[in-house]
């Protein structure tokens, strides 16, 4: 597969690892921000192959993991309304809310369908005109323009029974929030690759400038990640933190203007509730007034039971990088992918799931 296989070259990978070992002379703490990077790192066993000077932490870059219980509860409550079809990405199905999950709701009476794209959700709306089709809109800036596009398409085509539960979140604000919390000393950040395809690299410039932390925007293949680690180590060893793009075939400094325009025309910035962190101002998106009629939260009223957090679950600490999954008392004892206590275990990109699936004993 073009643009994939070349970046999985084993020989080149081994040589890069040797090079990183030479370059890295001091304790270096990197955070990979994006869940996709967590999975790629673990699947390839990259942590094992890097020198012991380099420590890699996983950050809150999994949009499923950071969805607050209240929001999951709302999605489930909507699913139980009459004449409602819930459409969702597969990622959300197993995530536990306060009392249940979409998967459990589907086993009950709720009509919940997994889709690959909002276009499929729109099609389901067109095929079921007597029902309301609600799309669970999770994601970061990679997904936000696609949801915006689907709303614009729904409007253009006069689809009246399509709604979105907007749970979209933004990356640079949460990166700032983590850095401001000051709980961990970070030397470098592996910046999310596909979010940056949309937003570009400029939004990260405050990180080296205000916090002295190195940044490299990284792709997802093994060579991409190794290149980014090498570039970060280079910046750190030379004491010159900046923002560099490792993922040059996908990311331009200014991002995708068209995608940003579409996003901006449909959404506006709002505060958002991040699991484990709390409400962070200007870190989420909501529908603009012009497109209010697509907002599922406004269109449907549901009563929610009091929000409950699972006892003993330290997903919040894990998302902030201050604890690793192996430090959680519930990990592998009570909390398993089949019986997850918190979302970090459920989401295929959650740190706990990745450690469980791919870790060596």
């Amino acid at each position: 597969m073009k643009f994939i296989d070349e970046y999985r070259d084993v020989e080149l990978g081994k040589r890069l690892i040797a090079r990183i070992k030479q370059l890295s002379t001091r304790p270096t703490r990197l955070m990979e921000f994006c869940g996709g990077h967590t999975v790629a790192i673990m699947r390839n066993g990259i942590r094992q192959l890097l020198p012991s000077t380099i420590e890699m932490l996983s950050g809150p870059g999994c949009p499923v993991c950071v969805t607050a219980n209240a929001d999951i509860d709302r999605a489930i409550a909507l699913a139980h309304l009459p004449d409602v079809i819930i459409t969702t990405f597969g990622d959300m199905m197993k995530v536990p809310g306060s009392y249940s999950s979409l998967q459990q709701a589907r086993a009950g009476e709720a009509d919940i369908r997994i889709v690959y794209s909002t276009q499929d959700a729109l099609q389901i709306a067109k095929d079921n005109l007597t029902q309301s089709v609600i799309f669970i809109g999770i994601g970061f800036e990679t997904t936000a323009p696609t949801i915006a596009a689907s709303i614009l398409q729904a409007e253009k085509e006069g689809v009246k029974n399509f709604y979105v539960l907007c749970l979209l979140k933004l990356c640079p604000p949460i990166m700032k929030a983590i850095l401001d919390l000051g709980e961990i000393r970070l030397d470098g950040i592996v910046c999310p690759g596909h979010v940056s395809v949309v937003i570009g690299s400029h939004p990260y410039e405050f990180i080296p400038r205000d916090y002295g932390v190195a940044c490299v925007v990284s792709g997802f293949e093994s060579l991409d990640i190794l290149l980014s680690v090498a570039m970060l180590v280079g910046q750190i060893e030379s004491g010159k933190p900046t923002v560099e793009i490792g993922y040059r075939r996908g990311v331009k400094p200014e991002g995708n203007k068209k995608a940003l325009e579409l996003m901006d025309s449909v959404f506006e910035v709002d505060s958002a509730d991040w699991r484990g962190i709390g409400v962070v101002p200007a870190s989420g998106l909501r529908l603009r007034k012009k497109y209010e009629r697509f907002d599922a939260e406004q269109a449907f009223s549901v009563t929610l039971e009091p929000v409950r957090e699972a006892k003993g679950c330290i997903c919040g600490d894990i998302l902030r990088g201050i604890k690793t999954p192996t430090e959680c008392k519930l990990f592998r004892k009570v909390c398993f992918p089949e019986h997850p206590v918190g979302p970090c275990m459920v989401s295929s990109e959650g740190a706990c799931a990745a450690y469980y699936q791919y870790g060596t004993e």
């Binding site: 990405f89 596909h194 490792g246 040059r248 075939r249």
Partner: protein, 75 residues
């Protein structure tokens, strides 16, 4: 987050395109990449092309990778 896969544009009709990777085909939207042309490679995320892959930059990256890996091998 954000699984996006490089796929090649096989045909275009208005805002939609047929794309292909490894023989797998799907109808996708190019609303976010109106500049895409047949033959281009795009990054596909949830049924939308989110950018056109810059082939020159892709080659450049492979060169950088090779250089980075070779730096220690000169002795």
């Amino acid at each position: 987050m954000c699984l996006a896969v490089p796929v090649q544009v096989v045909s275009i009709e208005g805002n939609e395109a047929e794309v292909e990777i490894g023989g797998v085909r799907r109808h996708v939207s190019i609303m976010l990449t109106p500049e895409a042309k047949v033959g281009d490679y795009v990054l596909l995320h949830t049924g939308y092309a989110i950018n056109v892959i810059d082939e020159a930059e892709a080659q450049e990256t492979l060169k950088i990778l090779e250089e980075m890996a070779s730096l220690d091998e000169v002795h």
